[in-house]
């Protein structure tokens, strides 16, 4: 049975407009930094998505900025009420993710909106798309910031939809990092490139919101199936013009081509998800464009990475945490939940656990850092089952009062890191090295009960009948809520 969802970005934009989570911008906006600056300010103010109707130099195109940069928009994208709290969104996501895989449905090209305009050969010129100069100082116009790249394994049917940033180089060329531990990185660097075979790709710009969410998720399933599970029915896909890849039929813009083996060209710097321009100009993976297909009057999507909170930070934090929740439960660890603070740019994972035995926090750290997700974060805070992992105040309080400054911190100096970590030394960036740290905020289970400090809070140090009396008479005392 299908859940409530939005089949394309246009329906999603209408939903955002109805709830006040998007604003129509009729004023002409320059793609050269002005559009990016607006989106950046919206992210930092956690504001409504700007829906740009008039882009300088590009009549006929529109753009949506900051499509899912806060939890309200994520709830709307999931078909939930905007006020749904994070645990509620997580529960619904997990419920859908636990269903049986659903295969996508292939539809005819004549029925696919993304084929309304088909540009081949010299007409497939990506400089005719309104790629924004997102930040001053960026190494180029980042045509792809809210999108995903479709690629297929060379030897198996495995298909990957993943967000890999792409910078416009010239009218036929894009470039971006494809890290070796990513799904597409394993396909390209381990299989296509060694055999000198160009890898077909299709970049999907402005997909429907659930496909975008799926492409950010660390699922082991092909994301076309995972998207269908989030929808509760098959996502409609259509065959590409120049390869055997399939793309969501209701997306706004598709760029097709090949990833070029054994040639690298300069990319970056770029304002990245960590909130810094960290990685320098370097030679990175090359995409050569063969075709563009799109809807009439297409709508770009623009995410603006920077200081929190943007889409990548929010969605990666959300889905990485839920994947680790699943992983720890599969290992039989008595956790109460896992949360990643989006403000940590998915570098900090908070785990709630029943402190059943000594050094359970260290074990949790070893499991999460040892997983395939481990390279993306380097801090793990383990709190007890009475601490609300979604409440920053409670987590900070636990960290600063229960974590012993020498005995409670476990450092692993040699872990897998990413070149995007702002703190990393140059050689750590070059070779993808990084340290890991666990903050154990659990009182040791061997301490006798009489020795354990008592948390002094309204919920914890008053008898139930006093709490209920105070709450029931709160207004009578003269207080607002």
């Amino acid at each position: 049975m299908a859940y409530k969802y939005y089949k394309d970005n246009r329906a999603y934009i209408n939903a955002l407009l109805q709830t006040g989570d998007a604003v129509v911008v009729n004023e002409e906006v320059d793609w050269d930094m002005e559009l990016g600056a607006i989106v950046r300010r919206i992210c930092e103010r956690k504001g409504p998505s700007p829906y740009f109707k008039n882009i300088k130099d590009y009549p006929g195109f529109e753009a949506l900025g900051a499509p899912i940069a806060n939890y309200r928009k994520l709830a709307i994208a999931m078909g939930l009420e905007p006020e749904t709290p994070v645990p509620g969104i997580a529960a619904e996501y997990l419920r859908r993710a636990a269903t049986a895989p659903i295969m996508p449905r292939i539809i005819d090209k004549k029925e696919a909106p993304c084929k309304e305009v088909v540009l081949l050969g010299d007409d497939a010129d990506i400089m005719n798309l309104p790629a924004p100069m997102v930040h001053d100082g960026d190494g180029g116009r980042y045509i792809c910031t809210w999108h995903f790249v479709v690629a297929k394994d060379l030897d198996t049917p495995f298909v990957n939809w993943g967000m890999y940033r792409q910078m416009l180089f010239d009218e036929k060329t894009m470039v971006g990092p494809v890290l070796p531990f990513s799904d597409m990185g394993k396909m390209f660097h381990n299989k296509y490139a060694p055999r000198n075979i160009p890898m077909p790709f299709a970049t999907v710009i402005s997909p429907d919101p659930l496909a975008a969410i799926a492409s950010c998720a660390p699922t082991s399933l092909p994301e076309d199936q995972f998207t269908s599970m989030l929808m509760g029915e098959p996502v409609e896909v259509v065959k590409c013009e120049t390869s055997d890849l399939y793309v969501p039929a209701h997306a706004e813009i598709i760029i097709e081509g090949v990833v070029v083996p054994n040639v690298m060209i300069e990319e970056a710097p770029f304002g990245e998800y960590t909130g810094y321009r960290t990685s320098p100009r370097e030679k990175r993976t090359v995409y050569r464009v063969k075709a563009i297909t799109m809807r009439k009057n297409p709508i770009m999507s623009v995410s603006n990475m920077g200081v929190p909170t943007d889409e990548g930070q929010l969605l990666r934090s959300f889905s990485l945490a839920l994947e680790m929740d699943k992983l720890l439960k599969e290992q039989g660890i008595p956790i109460t939940g896992v949360y990643m603070l989006p403000e940590s740019t998915h570098h900090l994972v908070v785990v709630g656990v029943k402190p059943s035995y000594a050094n359970i926090a260290t074990q949790i750290g070893q499991i999460v850092f040892g997983s395939k997700l481990g390279p993306w974060f380097h801090m793990c805070i383990v709190v007890d089952d009475k601490t609300d992992i979604y409440n920053k105040d409670e987590v900070i309080h636990a960290l600063c009062t229960r974590c012993h400054p020498t005995k409670g911190i476990t450092v692993t100096p040699n872990g897998v890191g990413t070149p995007l970590n702002p703190y990393a030394w140059p050689e750590e960036r070059q070779y993808g090295r990084g340290g890991k740290v666990v903050f154990d905020c659990l009182f040791p289970p061997e301490w006798p009960a009489s020795m354990i400090p008592i948390k002094v809070s309204f919920d914890n140090v008053y008898p139930k009948h006093i709490q209920e009396k105070v709450i029931s008479k709160w207004h009578q005392y003269g207080f607002e809520d």
């Binding site: 130099d57 180089f169 710097p269 321009r277």
Partner: protein, 84 residues
């Protein structure tokens, strides 16, 4: 007069003048082609009017260097294999 920029991963002081260099330059002419990149062989000067075209220099993390420079583009070329 055309205007370009280029990125260097070294200190500005290390940028060599009046010798042939190879690298990526971006065209800063306004319009849809702005920021189009190309590989080129060129010579640069830290004197604004030494060569006919303007050049802005940025460092590896995008920091714009204040000194206005000039550039002589000798040749542009493509590094992508033919047929792709």
């Amino acid at each position: 007069m055309a205007e370009y920029d280029t990125y260097i991963n070294t200190d500005f002081a290390d940028l060599k003048e009046d010798v042939e260099l190879t690298g990526v330059i971006r065209d800063l002419a306004p319009g849809r082609r702005k920021y189009r990149s190309t590989y080129a062989r060129f010579m640069v000067s830290k004197t604004a009017d030494k060569y006919k075209d303007k050049l802005q220099v940025r460092l590896g993390r995008g920091q714009l260097v204040d000194t206005p420079c000039s550039i002589e583009v000798i040749e542009t070329f493509n590094v992508i294999p033919k047929g792709l």
